[in-house]
């Protein structure tokens, strides 16, 4: 008899996200077991415990998910997990802290799709602002967009913090191959003059971009907002927008709302969780893979 699919779900927080648990079960994992308050130093022990109790064949039916809230911590844990494998005792690992990697991937893929279909261009060379971009989704979106060739700036209320986050993204997630800049929220009127794409990834219920700033942007093409709770993060973009023209934009910019992004995120996370089930060789999945899958979803589903 085939062994049941088991997903060991690690989080640094004191609970798993029920979102991730539902997603894991629906992707076909039979059992999803929580490991909470996990510290970085415990990852190796947990991973090695998980890999040595099944045969190589049945390890294909075993996986590890890394949640939590902190992107760097999750990536570090993913790296530690990978290092802890003793082939052929090896299982797939997927990091998606706060769902940020798949959410960001969904948002960037949706924005790219609009650039391609409505503006006949790509992310390469575009100026991208990640407003409220110091959080997990903003960080991942900034890195993904930068890796796709965009010039990205993370905008935060405190310049110092934004700078710190940008530096961290460049060195930790971009391998030093990308250069994300930092900007202060107070200066965003200036930045909007050259912005092609805006991502709003701040806390729910805060308007990060006003109607005036939208109207003042001469080359804005796409504005995407992950916030599903009114008021929306970008004036004129509501949760249902999906490539919808933004009223008052003088550059014919289109909006992408939280539900459209959420839909791509859902399919991306589902596919990555399924990929872990079906892969013959163990995979280590993070924001880059999430973006590949989200892009693929955009191409094949529309």
């Amino acid at each position: 008899m085939e062994k049941p699919f088991i997903l060991h779900m690690l989080t640094t927080a004191k609970n798993l996200s029920p979102f991730d648990v539902n997603m894991a079960m629906d992707a076909g994992w039979v059992s999803a077991l929580p490991y909470i308050n996990v510290e970085a130093s415990e990852v190796q022990g947990l991973v090695q415990d998980a890999i040595f109790s099944r045969s190589a064949k049945n390890l294909k039916r075993t996986g590890i998910f890394i949640g939590g809230r902190d992107t760097k911590q999750a990536m570090d844990m993913l790296k530690t997990a990978k290092r802890s494998m003793i082939p052929p005792f090896e299982v797939s690992v997927f990091a998606d802290p706060s769902g940020a990697f798949t959410t960001a991937a969904g948002m960037v893929a949706a924005a790219e799709h609009e650039l391609i279909t409505k503006f006949n261009t790509t992310l390469a060379g575009k100026t991208v602002l990640a407003l409220g971009g110091t959080g997990p989704v903003g960080q991942a979106a900034a890195v993904i967009a930068a890796q796709a060739g965009a010039n990205v700036m993370i905008i935060g209320r405190q310049l110092e913090k934004a700078q710190h986050v940008a530096d961290m993204c460049n060195s930790e997630f971009g391998d030093g191959k990308i250069t994300i800049l930092a900007g202060a929220d107070a200066d965003k009127a200036e930045y909007m003059k050259t912005a092609d794409v805006v991502f709003a990834t701040g806390a729910a219920g805060i308007e990060l971009l006003s109607a005036e700033l939208i109207a003042s942007a001469p080359q804005l093409k796409v504005a995407a907002d992950v916030n599903a709770v009114p008021p929306s993060g970008i004036a004129g973009v509501d949760a249902f927008h999906n490539g919808t023209p933004i009223q008052g934009s003088n550059s014919q910019a289109v909006g992408i709302g939280a539900l459209a992004i959420g839909n791509i995120k859902y399919h991306t996370q589902n596919r990555l969780l399924k990929k872990m089930l079906n892969t013959d060789k163990p995979v280590y999945l993070h924001f880059e893979h999430a973006f590949e899958v989200a892009r693929d979803y955009m191409e094949t589903s529309r």
């Binding site: 049941p4 060991h8 077991l33 308050n37 947990l46 090695q48 415990d49 998980a50 109790s53 003793i86």
Partner: protein
């Protein structure tokens, strides 16, 4: 429809071991429920909560597993579970903290079998050292070996007192005759291994305890067993798959043979699987600890 089988997994630690989770699923339990940070004084009421909600048919499909890292505490918890049963509301309980009971049982059974086949000896004829002797696997290994009649010494890598205290307290509790020693330096190790017949290595994964240089000191060595599967292995020159292969590095103990981590792991795996499965198939509730594990491990290795 038959009720789904449920294993309630009690653990004094913040998290269960993924090893035990995989094993319990693979043994056929349908649903696993982790209970973490469980204190001894909660075990009684958790047990009664588990037994009173399923009726006589459901109760046969319900079990308790006790994990953690502390052998003494696990045995206390097992005892507390036992006391909490109200027949016919009674379920099987299996204690295997850190998998230590099944690992130790498999290790001792493998080494015992190898000793018998290759040297024609019994454990009761032997002097035994347990490196990593104050960790969960080491202690359980020591107790099992001592109860099987071997002259057994637990070795700590830092403190003599730890080893002596452990030995004393488990001797009192289980009626074994453990001794304690400390090996901080290569010289300490060489002195300790000079006359022994058997070495169990139950130290942390990825740590080499005995180098070839130290192994030269061994003159009576017959069998070594190592549970460390993460390179570097616990004993230089051993291979994970060794199942009675010559340990050539022990140059002054010709005939010394080795049992590696995967050989032990293979038996441990079967053993834990059978014990978990036994909980699902037994008609009468059972309470399983390292003694049951060793009996079953002996059955498994002799049938092989």
């Amino acid at each position: 429809m038959q009720k789904r089988s449920i294993l309630h997994m009690l653990d004094p630690m913040p998290n269960n071991s993924p090893f035990d989770i995989n094993m319990a699923m693979d043994a056929g339990f349908d649903v696993l429920m982790p209970y973490n940070n469980v204190k001894l004084d909660r075990v009684y009421s958790l047990t009664q909560d588990a037994i009173f909600s399923r009726g006589p048919a459901g109760i046969k499909r319900t079990g308790l597993f006790i994990g953690g890292r502390d052998l003494g505490l696990a045995m206390d918890m097992l005892e507390a579970c036992h006391q909490a049963m109200v027949p016919p509301f009674e379920i099987s309980v299996f204690a295997d903290p850190s998998g230590a009971f099944t690992t130790a049982a498999a290790l001792v059974a493998c080494v015992e079998q190898t000793l018998k086949i290759q040297h024609g000896k019994e454990l009761k004829d032997c002097r035994v050292l347990v490196f990593g002797g104050t960790g969960p696997v080491g202690i359980a290994t020591g107790i099992i070996a001592s109860l099987a009649g071997a002259d057994t010494t637990l070795v700590d890598h830092l403190l003599l007192d730890s080893a002596m205290d452990m030995a004393k307290s488990f001797n009192r509790r289980f009626g074994c005759t453990l001794k304690g020693e400390c090996a901080r330096t290569e010289q300490d190790k060489a002195t300790l291994i000079a006359e022994v017949d058997i070495i169990f290595c139950a130290a942390k994964a990825g740590i080499q305890v005995l180098s070839s240089e130290v192994l030269k000191a061994a003159r009576n060595l017959k069998v070594v067993g190592d549970v460390n599967a993460v390179p570097p292995l616990g004993i230089e020159g051993i291979k994970r798959t060794d199942a009675g292969a010559p340990l050539l590095n022990a140059i002054n103990a010709p005939g010394a043979v080795a049992v590696g981590a995967l050989a032990v792991g293979d038996i441990k795996y079967q053993l834990q699987h059978e014990m978990l499965n036994f909980m699902l198939t037994t008609d009468k509730p059972v309470y399983l600890d390292f003694r049951d594990a060793f009996n079953k491990a002996r059955d498994i290795v002799t049938k092989k």
